[in-house]
Amino acid sequence: MEPASLATDTHVHRSVYTDPAIFELEMARIFGRAWIYLAHDSEIERAGAYVTRHIGTTGVIVTRDRDGSARAIVNRCTHRGATLCAFDRGEAPHGHQCPYHGWLFAPDGSLKMVPNRQNYDGVLDLAEHGARPVRLEFYRGFLFGTLHDAAAPLAEFLGPMASSIDDLVDRSPTGRLTCIPHVLRHHYRGNWKMTFENLNDTIHPGFAHSASVVSAKAVADDIGGGQSLAPTVGMMLANGKPIRFFQDLDMMVAPPGHSYIGGHMGARYTPDTEDRYTQDLISFHGPEKAAAVLGTDRHLTLLYPSSTWHARYQTVRIVRPVRHDLTEVIGYVFRLEGAPEETFRNAIEYVNGANSAASPVISDDLELYERLLAGNRYEDRGWIPMLRGLREDREQGNGWTRTPSTSEAFIRNQFQAWRHYMAAA
């Protein structure tokens, strides 16, 4: 069967989650062609600073070059194929040297030095043995890479969803963000798409996270009215909102596979912080834009196929496919330089709740992803319906659709992109 025929406008075949051959094809055709979020400017500030990341299952090294530009190369020596760098981050002012036979690569991938050069006299052309460079583009300090040299520009890939990155950057009253080097990782034995199909699903929390709601209520009752709820306990409670609330909330979907839904966590700063922060933003942006920034409330933005963004809580997550049945999700939290400390405290609280494997909310999701993998391996029905909200779209714009947040429109939109990527040979 042609891989693209495994997803229709309304149904998807369960083998897209369980078939290792499909996964291999996804790595080549989706992760090999899309723009993948790699790193933030602040992570590679000084010349020589590097971080290692992945594009699909391919490791890459992102380095600040001496001329100030960002470079990325495939993390593989062109001699025997060993990975060049084993660390998550560090400083490599002289480039990356293979630990096996000492071949030395510059940040842009060019092969600078091969030890015992006389052995290669007249037989090895250094210029032909550079490490593979990755095409890069920044959007407002966020660095994306693609292995597809002919990919359309990043701005076209982001489309209207670029506004969610604007939302994050514009929240800084200095225009500067810092990515915190400590990161929070979880993994599950399931397919990468399950995270993308779960995060903007507003129907599952009332069921999947019901135990958290019950326990948060028990704690709220226990402490009575005299004491305020801890933010994470509030987050657990928020999953108990009635379906009507989510039905009224909007979801926006846009190609290729992107979506976001409206904010619904009732995020507030304490009055003192609110006042100071508002003043800070007015000084930087002027009153009109400051009001627009503070008036924006989006929950998660999903940039298919590899990152999720929460501007209000300064959190970006990378979804990393490892195998068809193994996925890692890496959480990065940002400091808004110059903003009151409370904005950062809230962000930390959020990333812990949203990305710790020990989070009462996430541990439910991780269990369900693994059950999805188990159930979809059974020889039973082949096709999974994605029909929820099929006839409920609210507005069609130029390159986007507005629909209720309860709709599976975001999943249908993901599979539309999936089909498109998978069809082209």
Partner: protein, 158 residues
């Protein structure tokens, strides 16, 4: 046995017995239960954490563990803590600090194969404070050996 060393052992035993209300009663009202993502973190505001709990969150988390609708905790996980090398490194009339090395063996019913049982371990720091003439735990910090690693669902507290 030193009374603070006894308290470290008692805390582990209450966790293994899943007697969570009694476990939480060992802590001060303003306690901090913390599992950072790196041993280099000095405060919970240096970055994210696996656990960064106040008393309310400890209550909500453990209350949930005993709920049959808590997926991944069907049935609630069983644990066995092995507490070793307890050293009281400071002791004053009102506060004290103990270090220990701990291993937690954990069993969750999952696919029925070897992944059902996991091993966690690392260095544990207890900071105690005297509250109405009794020692209570004000801070429990667990530095897992694999703090930076990617974790699968963690249900039982360490």
């Amino acid at each position: 046995m030193h009374p603070l060393e006894r308290l470290v052992h008692r805390e582990a035993r209450l966790l293994d017995a899943r007697d969570y209300p009694a476990w939480i009663d060992l802590f001060t009202p303003d306690c901090h239960y913390w599992v950072p993502v790196s041993p280099d973190m000095t405060t919970a505001l240096d970055g994210p954490s696996h656990f960064n709990d106040d008393r309310q969150l400890m209550q909500a988390r453990t209350h949930r563990l005993l709920n049959p609708r808590a997926f991944g905790a069907e049935p609630p996980p069983r644990t066995a803590h092995i507490v070793s090398g307890v050293e009281i490194v400071s002791e004053n009339p009102e506060d004290a600090v103990a270090l220990s090395t701990q291993i937690m063996l954990e069993w969750r019913r999952r696919t029925g194969f070897e992944d059902d049982q996991r091993l966690f371990g690392g260095q544990v720091q207890h900071r105690f404070r005297r509250v109405s003439d009794e020692w209570r735990i004000a801070v429990k910090r667990i530095d897992l050996l694999n703090a930076e690693s990617s974790m699968n669902a963690i249900l039982a507290p360490f």
